[in-house]
Amino acid sequence: MSAADLLTVPPSREPSRTSALTRVVIYGLLGFFAVIYILPLLVMVMTSLKPLDEVTGGNMFALPRAPSLDAWAKAWGTTCVGLTCEGIKGYFWNSIKMVVPAVLISTTLGALNGYVLTKWRFSGHRLIFGVMLFACFIPFQSVLIPMATILGKLGQWGNFFTDTIGWSLGLGNPTVNLVIVHTVYGLGFTTLFFRNYYEAFPTELVKAAQIDGAGFFQIFWRILLPNSTPIFVVTVIYQFTNIWNDFLFGATFAAGDQMPMTVALNNVVNTSTGIIEYNVNMAAAIIAAAPTLFVYVVAGRYFVRGLMAGAVKG
């Protein structure tokens, strides 16, 4: 250490009363808000574990005296959704079948858009990007009717194919419709995410790959995508949460046994058989929320890891 360094070293800080007090306040507030946030979930879990008489007769915050998973089993397998009483399991799988392709397709297309908009620029690329950004600001409600018209047309094509080749190609199927709707609606966001990420991605890598003889898609698959883990995870979390939690599109474009989990949950709660089974409703609600929680917990870890890898890459 040189003399100059010695002169500029700050005096060691002594622990003071004020900093201790500040800490108490900070942790106190954080703890308070954590409790506020966890309380609804806690009540849901406790209620779902109680038998019905304990729910109706007791205190909401009381611990279950005889905890059981009966309400969970009923919610999953036998509770009534509208007129059918086969639980929510079918609708849970409906949602999975809708959300997985919709997330993957919209994310991949968004990545491809981002790649083209940053590394294969064409005249007017700014305008195109601006228009795509516009998609992020369009309210759900305003696209319902045009979307219904288009889906109706697709359904006609589906009928045509069924008549001619015996298979509708999936056109007109409510789940396929929802995948299409969510892909289209999510494209603006996924494009925005990937474009901004690839904007900072070194163009020299793309040039090097071009000289090395890699083509458009080879560069995308071999160079761009493997180095996009952080933004990929962010986009997947965002899209998964949005699509899984969507109610409006689900309620509008899918009916009957094809409806997604969110719509089914609404119907479980609204189906009246005399008594309101709070414990079953709570269990169903937790099941409905579980996948997004799962994605946050699992992918969030990769997200942090991806950020760290980028930081030391240099």
């Binding site: 020299e204 040039k207 090097a208 790959a209 000289i211 090395d212 180095n227 890898a309």
Partner: protein
């Protein structure tokens, strides 16, 4: 016929012209260095050779074949980028083999080629690592390995050493020179560092504002610069420029430096100057390198034209191997290069020797050499 030929090359971005008609040629096995200040178009020129940027007009030929419109991968060139541009998701071995993989070279062949190159560059122990785990110098080697493995017709280097620290830069410079000598490849190299240009090149092209200022061997560029810009840009410390006048005594022209508070200095006309172009009484700029301004003892005894003058010393800069002495002549700062042990103190009057064999004259209006 030269191996690499560039003829009338122009590049426009909208209304602005980046390259204004470049003519260059390089023999097989030559080492061409493009040098110039930032924004002079040297990197753009390299990118047009690589095919990463299109050209507005002109011709680029390699071995007689016009490659103007060929895709970069079809030009049989390899490029080392300033940032190395190693693929972060692949190991060193995969990085080096990527181009061959894209060309469908069978795996055993690829592995053999990678092993050979790794041996040449002494990076065998790094093959399984990823670029993120390498130091700057190691990344530099891998980047060169990736270019070498393809055995291309022309190598392009885009300021490859500018991200390294000073010591490593010198090491890698020697490494590149050794590589060039042992493999005899044709290289085009872009740098803004004039020392790299001098040490590596067989030919130097100096660019400014998209125009070629001079093309020649390092010694031509250094000793007989075509204009003031080239003279000022090449060499460190840079060349001294002194305003002077042409005078004639007994029929022989001479160069006169007028000083306000000291006797006028009359000098012989440097050998490099074209005497027929010297007009009596006209102004000229005398350019002389610091190593041609010395103390009287260490002046070159073989020189035909030594001139002495006395001037007060302003600043003394000991640099270890040499001592630079700064004085003032006709209002201009003059740097002299002396032996390290020369005894000089600021403020003293000192006798300087000018070796006019190494001097050049410039026209102050056109800035061209006379």
């Amino acid at each position: 016929m030269a191996f690499l030929e560039i003829e009338g090359l122009r590049k426009r971005f909208g209304a602005t012209e980046i390259l204004k008609g470049i003519d260059l040629s390089l023999d097989k096995g030559g080492f061409l260095v493009l040098v110039g200040p930032s924004g002079c178009g040297k990197s753009t020129l390299l990118n047009t050779i690589a095919g990463l940027e299109s050209i507005s007009s002109g011709d680029i030929r390699v071995d007689g074949e016009t490659i103007n419109d060929l895709h970069p991968s079809k030009r049989d060139i390899a490029m080392v980028f300033q940032s190395y541009a190693l693929y972060p998701n692949m190991t060193v071995a995969q990085n080096i083999a990527f181009a061959m993989e894209m060309r469908g070279v069978p795996k055993p062949e690829r592995e053999k080629a990678v092993a050979d190159v790794a041996k040449t560059l002494q990076i065998e122990h790094l093959l399984a690592r990823r670029p993120g785990q390498l130091s700057g110098g190691q990344r530099q080697r891998v980047a060169m390995g990736r270019a070498l493995v393809r055995q291309p017709r022309v190598f392009l280097f885009d300021e490859p050493l500018s991200n390294l620290d000073a010591k490593l830069r010198v090491d890698m410079r020697i490494e590149i020179k050794r590589l060039h000598q042992s493999t005899g490849t044709t290289i085009v190299y872009v740098t803004h560092d004039q020392i790299e240009a001098m040490t590596l090149a067989t030919r130097i092209a100096v660019l400014k504002d998209g125009e070629l200022q001079q093309v020649g061997t390092p010694s031509e560029i250094y000793n007989t610069p075509a204009n003031l810009f080239v003279a000022d840009f090449m060499g460190s410390p840079s060349m001294n420029f002194i305003e002077a006048k042409v005078a004639r005594a007994n029929g022989t022209p001479s160069i006169v430096i007028e000083r306000s508070s000291a006797p006028t200095i009359a000098l012989a006309v440097p050998k490099s100057a074209d005497r027929s172009r010297l007009v009596d009484g006209s102004k000229v700029i005398l350019g002389i390198r610091p190593e041609a301004v010395t103390d009287t003892e260490s002046a070159d005894r073989n020189s035909a034209n030594l001139s002495k003058f006395d001037s007060p010393v302003e600043i003394v800069e000991p640099a270890g191997s040499d001592t630079f002495v700064v004085t003032r002549l006709a209002g201009k700062i003059i740097t002299a290069r002396m032996r390290a042990e020369t005894a000089v103190t600021p403020g003293q009057s000192f006798t300087f020797a000018l070796n006019l064999d190494k001097a050049v004259l410039f026209d102050p209006v056109t800035t061209k050499r006379i």
